[in-house]
Symmetry: C2
Subunit: 210 residues, 2 copies
DNA sequence: ACCCGACTAGACATAAGTGTCTAGACAGGT
DNA sequence: ACCTGTCTAGACACTTATGTCTAGTCGGGT
């Protein structure tokens, strides 16, 4: 994904998608230009049209892929049973804390895209609703009232968005120090030291594998 | 700002800036095109070059204006003395809750812009630092330790960003209901009913005048 | 050896964007 | 009446983007 392909390797449809994703992440949709992608792949611009009907088709494919992965990931994490609400929130954080923050920056890029494209906005709204519902259910499973669960889900969800948007250059360690405080904020109770330690190990192992 | 000028009125440099701001808010920097602005002002595209040396000059002017207003606003609100931390947080919320969310969406647009332009990123980083320092000082003034104040400032700040980014279609009333919970999260204590009532009146009067 | 499907390059047409230049409208001071 | 500075329109040159069409390359199956 990060390294452009060597010139001799066969170019695939996925390569175009990867290149497009890369530009989408760093520069936004508006900068996803076919020539740019072709240069990244060391290939002629016109080859693009063998794999995709148009630029629009590429963007649609990109969006479809995003829905399939990013939304499902958070929903799955939120649905995983956890002994305490602290652990549950920590688990959700794991879903979005990793070295590259790949999916999250993509999430942001799509969010920006949605601002100027109504059809994308609709897809995003559905995804938001699914994720919020999953998070609210998570809080609900730990004794919060439906109203309170919904609010806390929103706070958690929107803060994650803002966190990504702020585009911090932090190490995993720095991030972890803050997450301890976040958990306090979201659950209304301090995490125990044991819980924090468990959380640290989990996240760290996650970062290394991802 | 929202209504395009009638054709007979004299076009000013500020009109170009306003039109550009409008597009920046709704569509992002990439869509700030001179022809688009000219059409909004019912004026020839080439007239633009009397007021601005280039498109780049327009964008720079736009950024300068944003710094002058948006950053100063939050810093001023954060520096205002408040009896309790709850009131202080509430006061900061006032700074960003209003019907149109004008400055905040602009803030978001600039944040997006910064992602692809290093010089903008630098300006934004300075602004972020100023605002975070102001918020941290606010928490510090109410007895939080420097470390805790800093973290809470960041949570508050980033959540506001995410809140704007989520681009909710809410009434002021709906927003207020949530803010009560936000305050709880940020201060670690429940707001008293009296404080919430005062907060409601303040925000509502602000919305009406703004 | 050949053929055919997968894939690519390059030439072309078209559109949209920036920026320049020139002629001139229009209002206010003299 | 006429200048002069302010502002504008329209023609032009240039660049960059999308999308089309054609002629081909290249490898695997037969």
């Amino acid at each position: 994904m990060d390294t452009p392909l060597p010139g001799n390797t066969k170019v695939t449809r996925q390569d175009w998608l990867d290149a497009a994703t890369q530009i989408l992440l760093t520069d936004g949709v508006e900068r996803v230009k076919i020539l740019t992608l072709a240069n990244l792949l060391n290939v002629s611009r016109s080859s693009f049209y063998w794999y995709f009907e148009s630029r629009e088709a590429l963007l649609t494919a990109l969006l479809d892929h995003w829905i399939g992965t990013n939304t499902a990931a958070l929903v799955a994490h939120a649905a995983t049973q956890q002994p305490t609400i602290t652990a549950a929130v920590a688990n959700v954080f794991i879903c979005f804390i990793d070295e590259r923050q790949f999916n999250n920056r993509l999430d942001f890029a799509v969010r920006d895209w949605a601002r100027r494209d109504p059809s994308v906005r609709e897809v995003l709204a559905q995804s938001d609703e699914q994720r919020l519902t999953a998070l609210a259910a998570m809080f609900g499973a730990h004794g919060y009232t439906p109203e309170d669960a919904r609010i806390r889900a929103r706070v958690l969800y929107y803060m994650q968005i803002g966190y990504i948007d702020a585009d911090l250059q932090e190490t995993t360690q720095e991030r972890l120090e803050q997450v301890a405080h976040y958990i306090f904020a979201f659950t209304g109770q301090h995490a125990t030291q044991a819980e924090l330690d468990t959380f640290r190990t989990t996240v760290l192992s996650f970062s290394e594998t991802g």
